[in-house]
Amino acid sequence: MRKMPTALALLALLGTTSALADITFFSTQARPLEEAQQMREIALAPYAEAINYMPQETGTFLSRLEAEKTSPDGALDLLGGLHGELGSLTPSILTPLNDLQGSLADTGISKQYMTLGKLGGDQQRYIPWMQATYIMAANRKALPYLPEGADLNALSYDELLAWGRNMQEATGSPKLGFPAGRKGLIHRFLEGYLYPSFTHSVVREFRSDDAVAMWQKFREIWAVTNPRSTAYGFMQEPLLNGEVWVAFDHTARLKDAFNKQPDQYVAFPAPAGPSGRGYMPVVAGLAVPANATNPDASRRLIRYLMTPEAQIRTLRATNFFPVVEAELPDDLPASIRMSGKAVAAQSSADDAVLSLLPSGLGQQSGLFNKIYRDAFVQIVLRDADIEETLDILAPRLQTLINTSGAGCWLPDPPSDGPCPVK
């Protein structure tokens, strides 16, 4: 008998939550439990209407949208995802948001980012929402081993190699680290950092002599890299437990290390190669499914999320930086202050080479990343012949680019038709 009131109360509670949750915000971002909670409490709480924030793994996110695209009454109102994720959907799933372009014109969103939101077509399929990038992080214990004359803010890949060697000699174990595990983003390092730094390209020069030299250099760097790297997902973990002293990763995946021990770590730009300092900004966007039941409510929420105030709140919750012009307050967490400086130094470096996330690949974007990861596994981990491996992979790369019809993106010069692999 005593259980009855509890059960009733629970039922009532369930009833009210589902009735209040008017807007369903389905997102691949802010997925870890803690971040999702911050997203709800910090970024979305001030909004007048109730929002049901539902983070989801990329695969399930995409499968669900593809599966529900023909349903007339969609259960989802707003989508949040990375450029590549939204771009891999059937374009008609996302309702055109051209009407929002005008009201967002004077907020300071980069034109390049707005164009990315068109996913290679004429319609604005998503609105750029927030941005991040990949940087390097180092434990202060590693700094004494920097090679002589090296400037942390203008490091080269040769100096990184020398640094790794010094650390290995001094400590007896390899202290460099890369996120090469299943959940790691090593493919972004290859596509946005290594290839642009050595070949000023990512597709065209895939198997060029410069690329061969690049893989040779990376093999040398890998020799002084912690072999556990193939199990690393988020580099903040091996940094915090001391397995690794110097690491490359996404700013959001270094966040815990910076926040937990701000005095122990430094953030700095990625190294430069013979062709410059390749770097890749990550853009997440907001989109509305074509079958959303109340598209006006979805648009209102987008307008709120694009205000400088909401963008700063999102920054606090997710560590993704605003895409609109916004004054950064002084009380931001250590991770944001530290990575903010490194991000600025990286993008404003004299030798910076801007690399965009692969675009226009649609359903082929997963396969595109696989090509680069396969090259890495074969050449670096399985010690296969460099030229042979690139020659096997180049036609596959060309086939998938032809299938998607994607033209070249930065740093490759524009192409007529699908981007050619030389």
Binding site: G181, P227, R228, T230, E243, S365, L367, K370, V377
Partner: protein, 282 residues
């Protein structure tokens, strides 16, 4: 009377419908997708694609090797454990309960438990360095040490999957009439003679079903390998998962699924033929 005749069919109808909707239909769909290429042509394009992939042979080799090592070891262990349990008079249930605890743990959780033991700063290394067997926690669970990775997965799989074999064998042993064993004793057969000539042959139906079940599960091994080996130890199931969710090529993923099914059918057929149970013994 009429009502009685149809009753069994009414009773199995819900399960048939359930199997039809959630097993047969997806099964046919997977088959159709495996033989349809992305441009709509029917053929073997998906199979060619996975065959040409760098990970095809490593994943096939790892899966078969793992099955070939884990399943026989588990069978021997489970027979030994079942023999011990059936001879116990006191505390039999408690021991069985403890031995079957891993059955209640999901394979992902099992993987996490073993990772916590075996990783660089895990329990094993902490223990070894505490008792001064090693100087510093060494990282040996990495791609350079394929044997250690394999061994770790074997140990975790044996820990996790032996109980299911044990349960089947214990119930099978319970079905063997005591008279045979007593007759053997009367005629002076030793323990080993009775084991080889009476217990194991009588246990054959249970061994057959345990082997089939365990082998099918071993061919689908996934979460434990993912936790311990990650991408360093590809298996058929992880490749299926990756082709579907990472590379978003449903056709290729379906081709892997069909391949796993073919291997399962061949091995099951082998067990049925070579562990044939005569009709009168069933």
């Amino acid at each position: 009377m009429k009502h009685d005749r149809w009753l069994p069919y009414y009773l199995i109808a819900p399960s048939l419908l359930f199997m039809g909707a959630f097993f047969l239909y997806p099964f046919i769909q997977i088959f159709a997708e495996a033989f349809t290429s992305s441009d709509g042509n029917v053929g073997l394009a998906n199979f060619t694609r996975i065959y040409q992939d760098f990970n095809f042979w490593p994943s096939l080799k790892n899966t078969l090797l793992l099955t070939g090592v884990v399943v026989p070891l588990q069978l021997v262990l489970a027979i030994g454990m079942a023999l011990m349990v059936t001879r116990m008079n006191k505390g039999r249930d408690s021991i069985l309960y403890i031995w079957t605890i891993p059955l209640g743990i999901s394979d992902l959780a099992a993987g996490i438990i073993w990772l916590a033991i075996l990783e660089q700063f895990g329990f094993l290394n902490s223990f070894l360095s505490a008792v001064s067997v090693i100087d510093a926690p060494a990282s040996w669970l990495n791609y350079q040490n394929a044997f250690a990775l394999f061994l770790a997965v074997v140990v975790a799989e044996i820990w996790r999957g032996t109980a299911i074999v044990l349960v089947i064998l214990v119930s099978g042993m319970g079905l063997i009439p005591k008279e045979y064993d007593e007759a053997g004793q009367v005629f002076g057969a030793s323990y080993w003679q009775r084991l080889w000539k009476i217990t194991l042959p009588m246990l054959r139906p249970s061994i057959q079903s345990a082997l089939i079940l365990r082998t099918l599960l071993a061919l689908e091994v996934f979460a434990v390998v993912m936790m311990l080996g990650g991408s360093d130890m590809p298996v058929l199931m992880s490749e299926t998962f990756d082709w579907q969710f990472l590379y978003q090529q449903t056709g290729a993923a379906a081709a892997y699924a069909v391949l796993i099914m073919l291997i399962s059918v061949v091995i099951t057929g082998f067990y049925i033929k070579f562990l044939n149970v005569p009709k009168e013994a069933r």
